[in-house]
């Protein structure tokens, strides 16, 4: 439109069209100045995500603030990373830190290097988008895509009884104390090592030399092509999830490195992280 008015003004010499052209061009400059004012002085911290799975949206957070003035219509995205999506905030006032939530999506699992946060705004007129990249290096580990597990569970991976009365096996293991692990949901409370727990400030359970055979070590084959490896990682993650939900101890070895058997959400994180790294690190690291 500006070009059209410019051509018309030059062609006809109509001074009022020059006036309109001047207004349009000045509006473009004013737009640049106001969007610059909106972006100036913004400080961004990457808060990250609770967990990012491939092929599904995950919540990603940035903490933003500015010392003075207002910012409007800000959008946040990760510059240069294979992540789709952005966070958005209508306005940001001076003085207080606000957390922006964005829904991002990663196409495949693995470590994603985050090099910078792109802050952009379409303020004031919504006609142009001005952006600025704030350099901050970080690493986001995208877990394997979540798929329903089709593998059948081993026969002894049955649901584990919970609580003292309903536990027919009174499973405390025997033998010498082998290790102390954090108490996980489903663990028998009689296995809590109270002295050590009191010292550590959290509930720890004793692991004896001889315990019941409800532990599984999952193995990820090496030398799989990329797509098959991704698929395999997803399957193992799904199987591990099912086993852990049944209270089993699950470990991992193979292409994803070694994860010692364990229970609970933390163990699941360890396994997912190891699976996310599979193929991206030399075996054994």
């Amino acid at each position: 439109m500006t070009l059209g008015v410019g051509v018309a003004a030059l062609n006809t010499g109509n001074n009022l069209l020059y006036l309109v052209l001047g207004l349009l061009l000045s509006a473009i400059v004013a737009s640049g100045i106001l969007s610059e004012l909106s972006l100036r002085g913004i400080e961004v911290r990457r808060l990250g995500t609770d967990g990012a799975f491939a092929n599904e949206p995950f919540v990603f957070r940035w903490a933003i603030s500015r010392q003075k003035g207002w910012s409007f219509a800000l959008s946040f995205s990760e510059e240069g990373a294979p992540l789709v999506g952005e966070g958005w905030i209508n306005h940001l006032s001076a003085g207080s830190e606000q957390v922006v939530r964005g829904e991002l999506r990663a196409a495949r699992r693995g470590p994603v290097t985050l090099t910078g946060i792109k802050v952009s705004t379409s303020f004031p007129f919504g006609l142009f988008i001005k952006g600025r990249v704030i350099r901050q290096r970080d690493l986001l580990v995208v877990y394997p895509a979540r798929i329903p597990s089709s593998a059948s569970l081993p026969p002894h991976a049955r649901p584990k009884p919970v609580g003292e009365i309903s536990n027919p096996r009174q499973g405390g293991g025997n033998g010498d104390l082998l290790d102390l692990r954090e108490l996980s949901p489903g663990d028998d409370s009689r296995r809590i090592h109270w002295v050590k727990s009191a010292g550590a400030g959290k509930l720890l359970r004793a692991v004896r030399e001889r315990e019941e055979g409800d532990g599984f070590t999952l193995r990820l084959e090496t030398d799989l092509p990329s797509e098959r490896l991704d698929r395999r990682c997803s399957e193992i993650a799904a199987l591990a999830d099912r086993l852990l939900q049944r209270g089993c101890e699950v470990g991992l070895e193979g292409a994803a490195g070694e994860v010692r058997p364990g229970r609970g959400p933390l163990q699941q994180r360890r396994i997912l992280e190891a699976l996310a790294w599979a193929g991206f690190l030399p075996a054994g690291k």
């Binding site: 006809t12 109509n14 400059v29 004013a30 409007f72 003085g95 004031p124 919504g126």
Partner: protein
């Protein structure tokens, strides 16, 4: 402000911007009346949030197609100018879009169509009001687009909307200033080929009719519209010129009307009326309100030439001139406005040294009288003149008599014998009555005379002089042997120039001041002006001679006081903005005032500790005090600003609790004291 209220504000801004864009076209007066009525009505309904089309896009498309067909037909049949048809279609498109359900696409379409209308307005007229509509369009569009941008994914807090509106208005103001700078410096490669200088909105006001009838309507005297702009060289330098601008002279009077016999026409690009030295050059622009093809010039016109007609299409074409009578010169081509150059000699005063340059040799046509003339007219002339027979002295004696014995009035009605009606019945009239009466009175005594119409005055605006419709005037010229026609004006001096109404008295000069600058610096701005501007910027500072005007200390004092006040307000505003804790301090003072009312004064502890102490003591007002204290701490130290009206609401709650406590305490106290 709720989300729906914010949306309403945004849509109102959008629709008003479209209205401003339409106004930029409508001031040209070129748009069809039905289009103006349709758009104005549609805009009113849209502002009331009644959208005729809503989601019915197909209906709107059919309507537009029908409108396009009608406009094309009218343009093809030469009933409508093509540019006007295009502008009308842009208005129809905007109308259909503002009546559709709002969406980002619809909003963008409205803004685009509005911009098209603004461009159409630039093509249709060169009126100063275009600038006002353009500025309004810029401001409203900026606010509308900005609100749309920040509300595109949900509503925003009122405080943020205000801050955004401030920034948007700043942006729009910047764009307007930038627009002026761009306009001034962008090189002009061609000169105003397509600007339509005409404005048909109010039509022509003047027009020199062939017959001139006394006792006619005199309301034009109060009309302030400009009809002509004249640059005079050498510049007289006076504020009011008070000159007679001759348009046309009449010699025949039939008792009701003045007319002139048909005379042989002389057509030429340049006409010389009389040869003379010491000519006064006039560069005249006749505006559309003038409405006549007759040329005017300061008494006595000597030469006309270099005439150009401004056509409705925006083109300016050279035109030849046609001389019909001694003082009656017309343009050959018709246009909505004209420009030409005229030269005049000094008017004759009837002095012996006046040189006879006119060819008014035969006095017979200027002695003609109507057969039905009332015999009392001649008797009156004879009575006033007595034995005086010198034409000029006789004319001055009658002039003095008419000024003394007759009243100026615009409240007139038509009469069968206007001269007798004026002289013997109403004894009041306007310039045509005075001029006619004087000419007829002179003729009854055998003194040749005629009536001339034109303008009286010339008010300085900028470097030019302007004539208004109200300056239209009529006067008498008496033929003095060996000297020619000498002007004698019986109309009282105060009533010769325009007499604008009191309400417009102060507004009109301001408008003219701006309008002259608009035309000089915008409409007619050219490469030559740019070169002049560049030279003035490039001129070294030492070469600039400063001419200090005579100082008016009273005015300077007022200006200094006003400027100091503005500066103080601005500084106070800046100070308020720089101290975000200010709101918290105001809030705290109000809390402390409320607490003092119940005898609680904190001299050695702050509000936080006092509140904790009162909570421990289980004071009755702690229920209201705790949230107030918490909010104060958030505002003061947490950067969580108070929402609009929040401080008032919290403080009122606390004050109510305090007053309740006070009443209860007094009651209890009185009960204790009574025994």
């Amino acid at each position: 402000m709720s989300a729906s209220a914010q949306k309403k504000v945004r849509l109102a801004c959008r629709d008003l911007a479209a209205g401003a864009a339409f106004g930029a076209m409508a001031i040209s007066g070129a748009l069809p009346t039905w289009a103006v009525a349709l758009f104005a009505g549609g805009l009113m309904l849209a502002l009331l949030n009644w959208r005729a089309f809503g989601e019915r896009t197909l209906f709107a498309v059919f309507g537009l197609a029908l409108g396009a067909l009608l406009l094309y037909s009218a343009a093809a049949a030469d009933k409508l100018d093509l540019v006007v048809a295009a502008c009308t279609f842009a208005a129809l498109m905007t109308f259909s879009r503002i009546h559709a359900t709002s969406s980002p696409t619809t909003d963008a379409q409205v803004h685009l169509c509005s911009l098209l209308m603004i461009a159409g307005g630039a093509a249709l007229s060169a009126e100063m009001m275009f600038a006002a509509f353009l500025a309004a369009f810029a401001l409203l569009t900026a606010v509308s687009l900005g609100l749309q941008t920040i509300q595109s994914r949900g509503s925003t807090e009122a405080e943020a909307v205000k801050a955004a509106a401030r920034q948007l208005l700043f942006g729009a103001a910047f764009a307007i200033v930038g627009c002026a700078v761009f306009f001034a410096v962008f090189p002009r490669l061609s000169w105003n080929l397509a600007s339509r200088r005409g404005n048909r909105f109010q039509g022509a006001l003047m027009g020199f009719a062939d017959p001139v009838r006394p006792r006619g309507d005199g309301r034009i005297k109060s009309n302030p519209r400009l009809v002509a702009r004249i640059a005079i060289s050498p510049d007289p330098g006076v504020k009011s010129l008070n000159s007679y601008w001759v348009g046309r002279a009449f010699s025949q009077f039939d008792g009701r009307e003045w007319s002139s016999p048909d005379e042989t026409a002389r057509i030429a690009p340049r006409l010389t009326i009389r040869r003379a030295e010491h000519l006064l050059h006039q560069d005249v622009e006749l505006l559309p309100a003038y409405g006549s093809p007759a040329l005017i010039a300061i008494e006595r016109p000597a030469m006309f030439g270099n005439a150009r007609a401004h056509l409705e299409s925006g083109q300016t074409v050279p035109t030849w001139l046609r001389q019909l009578g001694e003082t009656h010169v017309r343009f050959v081509d018709s246009g909505v406005g004209y420009s030409y150059q005229a030269y005049s000699t000094a008017p004759l005063e009837g002095n012996p040294e006046d040189e006879l340059l006119d060819g008014e040799g035969d006095p017979q046509p200027y002695l003609q009288l109507p057969a039905s003339l009332d015999p009392r007219v001649g008797a009156l002339a004879a009575e006033v003149l007595g034995s005086e027979r010198d034409p000029l002295r006789a004319a001055h004696r009658l002039e003095a008599y008419l000024k003394r014995a007759y009243r100026y009035s615009l409240e007139l009605s038509d009469a069968a014998d206007p001269v007798a009606d004026f002289l013997f019945l109403r004894k009041a009239g306007h310039c045509e009555d005075f001029a006619t009466a004087l000419a007829v009175l002179l003729r009854t005594q055998g003194i040749p005379s005629r009536v001339t119409i034109g303008f009286y005055g010339g008010e300085r605006v900028g470097n030019q002089y302007v004539l208004r419709a109200g300056d239209a005037h009529s006067w008498t010229q008496v033929l003095v042997p060996a000297h020619g026609f000498v002007t004698v004006d019986a109309t009282p001096e105060a009533h010769r120039p325009a007499q604008p109404s009191v309400a417009l008295g102060w507004l009109t000069p301001l408008y003219d001041f701006l309008d002259v600058r608009w035309r000089t610096w915008v409409v007619d701005y050219s490469f030559k002006d740019q070169a002049g501007l560049a030279r003035s910027i490039a001129q070294p500072a030492w070469a600039v001679r400063l001419k200090l005007p005579k100082l008016n200390w009273r005015r300077l004092g007022i200006i200094a006081v006003v400027l100091t006040g503005i500066a103080a307000c601005l500084l106070a505003g800046v100070h308020r903005r720089r101290t975000p804790a200010n709101a918290a301090s105001v809030f705290l003072k109000r809390i402390e005032r409320a607490l003092r009312g119940v005898g609680l004064q904190f001299e050695r502890e702050d509000l936080e500790h006092a509140t904790i102490r009162l909570v421990r003591e289980r004071h009755p007002i702690t229920r209201e005090l705790v949230p107030v204290t918490r909010r104060y701490l958030e505002v003061r130290f947490g950067g969580r600003f108070l929402r609009e009206g929040e401080a008032v609401s919290l403080a009122r709650g606390l004050e109510t609790a305090c007053s309740k406590y006070r009443r209860a305490y007094r009651t209890r106290f009185s009960i204790v004291q009574l025994p």
